[in-house]
């Protein structure tokens, strides 16, 4: 039986990786992936707690998170494509104006 703390540490590491990637990367796609990484870090902690305490609610949360993340990915990728079409770049530092 793997102790709960292992899962939590892994979850923390995943989340920290996500945050770091989000902060230092310039490419929008990479940032997007970093967001997914953070979400999944959190998901892992949900599942770990759910298993540890024998409460089903945590796993149901995870389903919700995954559904929302999927929807977000659909919308987000559409936005990214549209941004690329209009600005021909995926560098967030050059996408700092709402108006062209």
């Amino acid at each position: 039986m793997v102790p709960l703390s292992y899962y939590l540490v892994l979850s923390g590491i995943l989340f920290a990786c996500g945050v770091t990637g989000f902060l230092i990367k310039r490419n929008i796609i990479t940032i997007f992936m970093s967001i997914e990484l953070m979400l999944n870090g959190v998901n892992l902690s949900f599942v770990a707690f759910a298993a540890h305490w024998h409460v089903l609610a945590g796993q149901i949360f995870v389903f919700f998170v995954m559904v929302v993340a999927a929807a977000e990915a659909a919308v987000g990728l559409a936005i990214i494509i549209s941004v690329y079409r209009t600005r021909e770049t995926l560098n967030v530092d050059q996408v700092n104006l709402l108006k062209l």
Binding site: L23, V92, V95, N96
Partner: protein, 651 residues
């Protein structure tokens, strides 16, 4: 069972007139405005007359409850009316003289572009004045009191494009405010100690007091405070200064408001409160002294004035002084008697003066009149009657009332009598001076084309002023009616008839001195005062008709004293130095520069400035850089987490 008199109609009718003329008058024809403006006061007068006819069948005092107004705890003040002999006299004087002056105004104001506005204001004044005299509690009376002040303000400043008229209106309003302040505090004291403002309730509660037990000072304080209010409204020392300036208003206004009715409201109020005053001897003495001093003081100023209306204004102040002198010696019915006769002859004097001013095209300076007797005989005749009346020559109205006052004053203290008699001499002198300067000698005005002043002051539009001309009938008829009243109005006082009529209100005055044996003294005093009046008239004749060079010599020999009197004893200047300038300076340096600019403005400005500075710094956070936002979010989250960890560690 007392019949229902529908007293409320009397004040409400003029209000309806004011509303109709005020709202619709601008678009109506002059005839329509005249019809409305005259019909409603006439209806009020007619109703007052029917009330007077049914008066003997009433259980007095008759009270009429109209509507709730204030009910707070045990304190009540309602819209309710009160009728007794005193209010009846006031009612008839106000509606009767008021109606006559309305008629006169038709002629006097016909050419004025704001004709409708004048009648709207005049009717409004009637409403408030009638509310004042019919109220059954002090609070409703105060409404009327303030209302007549408002109407007075509006009418003094009727020609508001003229700077002097506008400031005269303001002066009247502000000076009255000082008096009203005293009046209000008096009312607060009444509420605090008697829990009511209702006349019957208060007087019932005051009744058990005797002058000795009232030594606690309460009634004295209330009396003096009420007198402060009366001083403002009735132009007594030290608050008389507004009345002479109020002559900037149209002459009918001076006659109605500033001679016959409104300024007598103070006398009415003091008489109405006689139950309080009779139990506050010190307050009564104050009233008597103020009245006596004002009578003398204003009369001396009257001698030197050259503006025909200013002379009459100071004369009004002086006559009001007589009324207060009467009230102050406890002779309230004599005061009210003089109030009534004064309304007749002073109203007449002002209207006749208006007719004179009309005749000479707006000129008010008596030095540019003279010899008008042959041009305007009717005006001269009526003015002569009024002058004889105010001078106290028997059998004219003023003689009876003034003599009554002087006799009562003598019974109280011969000093009052002496000053009163001297004032009578001066009154007679300045009134005959006015008469002689205006109607005798040669015409000193410029014959043709001198209507520059007239235009500006009186809107006497287009009729050229070649020669002085008599006024139209619509102005002369009121003059004649008032002249008739000035002639016979005093006869109701014979055998103390008037006093007996008012006896249910004022009780028996001076029960200790009803000594019929003193008839000899009374006759003697009467003789002396008539002699004084005649002396004044003869002096005026010598100085202004037979030896017209003398007044200048006398004035020169008196030197600076004459200057002081001519400049009204510099009272206006004194007030300006003593009160107005410190107020203006204080307001400028402390309130404006200090409080307003340093505190209020700076608070607001600095708050805005500070917000701008802070935002200037903070706006750098909004860089538009996505990763910096993310950084801030992460940092914020980190801080929150750290804080929660720290909280958890503390547990």
């Amino acid at each position: 069972m007392t019949p229902n008199l529908n007293l409320w109609l009397i004040p409400v009718l003029p209000l309806a007139g004011a509303a109709i003329n005020g709202f619709l008058g601008k678009k109506s024809s002059r005839t329509a405005v005249t019809t409305v403006g005259l019909f409603f006061p006439a209806a009020a007068f007619a109703w007052a007359l029917t009330v007077a006819l049914r008066f003997s069948s009433l259980a007095l005092p008759y009270q009429e409850y109209l509507a709730h107004w204030i009910r707070s705890g045990s304190f009540t003040a309602d819209f309710a009316l009160y009728l007794d002999q005193l209010s009846l006299v006031m009612l008839l004087v106000v509606t009767g003289v008021g109606f006559l002056i309305h008629i006169y105004s038709v002629g006097y104001m016909w050419d004025d572009p704001s004709y409708y506005r004048f009648f709207a204001y005049l009717n409004l004044f009637m409403f408030f004045m009638l509310t004042l005299v019919l109220a059954n509690n002090y609070l409703l009376m105060f409404i009327g009191w303030e209302g007549v002040g408002l109407a007075s303000y509006l009418l003094i400043g009727f020609w508001f494009t003229k700077d002097s008229a506008a400031s005269a209106g303001k002066k009247a309003f502000i000076v009255n405010r000082i008096g009203d302040f005293g009046f209000l505090i008096g009312l607060f004291l009444l509420i605090q100690h008697f829990g009511s403002l209702n006349f019957t309730e208060i007087f019932a509660k005051v009744q058990p007091f005797t002058p000795e037990t009232a030594g606690a000072g309460l009634l004295t304080a209330i009396g003096i405070l009420l007198m402060v209010g009366a001083c403002g409204k009735s132009a007594q020392i030290p608050l008389y200064v507004w009345l002479p300036d109020a002559m900037e208003g149209p002459t009918p206004v001076s006659a109605l408001i500033h001679a016959a009715t409104m300024v007598t409201a103070g006398v009415y109020m003091v008489s109405r409160s006689h139950v309080i005053f009779e139990r506050a001897p010190i307050a009564l003495t104050v009233v008597a002294i103020i009245g006596t001093l004002t009578a003398l003081f204003a009369a001396t100023i009257g001698i030197t004035q050259t503006d025909i209306k200013k002379v009459l204004a100071y004369s009004t102040v002086s006559q009001l002084g007589y009324m207060f002198m009467a009230c102050g010696v406890g002779a309230f019915s004599a005061g009210i008697f003089h109030l009534m006769t004064h309304a007749f002859f002073k109203g007449l004097l002002f209207l006749a003066a208006g007719s004179v001013i009309h005749a000479v095209g707006g000129e008010q300076d008596m030095r540019r009149m003279g010899g008008l007797r042959s041009y305007i005989p009717w005006t001269f005749l009526t003015m002569l009657i009024a002058t004889l009346a105010i001078a106290g020559i028997p059998p004219f109205a003023g003689f009876w009332s003034k003599d009554e006052i002087l006799w009562k004053a003598y019974e109280a203290n011969w000093v009052y009598w002496l000053i009163g008699a001297i004032t009578a001499l001066i009154t007679s002198f300045y009134m005959f001076r006015l008469l002689f300067m205006t109607f005798f000698g040669d015409y000193r005005g410029i014959q043709v084309d001198d209507h520059g002043r007239g235009h500006a002051a009186h809107g006497h539009g287009d009729h050229g002023h070649g020669e002085p001309h008599e006024s139209p009938m619509v102005m002369l008829v009121p003059l004649m009616i008032l002249a008739f009243l000035s002639l016979v109005g005093g006869l109701v006082g014979i055998h103390n008839g008037f006093e007996h009529f008012l006896e249910p209100v004022f009780g028996h005055e001076f029960p200790q001195s009803v000594t019929e044996g003193s008839g000899g003294t009374e006759l003697l005093l009467m003789g002396i005062s008539v002699l004084f009046s005649l002396t004044g008239a003869v002096l005026a004749y010598i100085l202004y008709v037979s030896k017209p060079y003398l007044p200048q010599q006398i004035a020169d020999s008196l030197g600076s004293f004459y200057d002081a009197v001519l400049n009204k004893y510099y009272v206006d200047e004194l007030y300006a130095k003593l009160f107005v300038k410190p107020l203006v300076d204080g307001s400028t340096s402390i309130l404006w520069q200090g409080v307003d600019r340093k505190v209020i403005d700076d608070t607001v400005n600095n708050a805005a400035e500070g917000a701008r500075h802070v935002s200037d710094e903070v706006r750098h956070m909004q860089s538009g850089n996505l990763r910096s936002y993310a950084g801030w979010i992460a940092a914020g989250a980190a801080i929150v987490i750290a804080y929660m960890l720290w909280l958890g560690a503390g547990r």
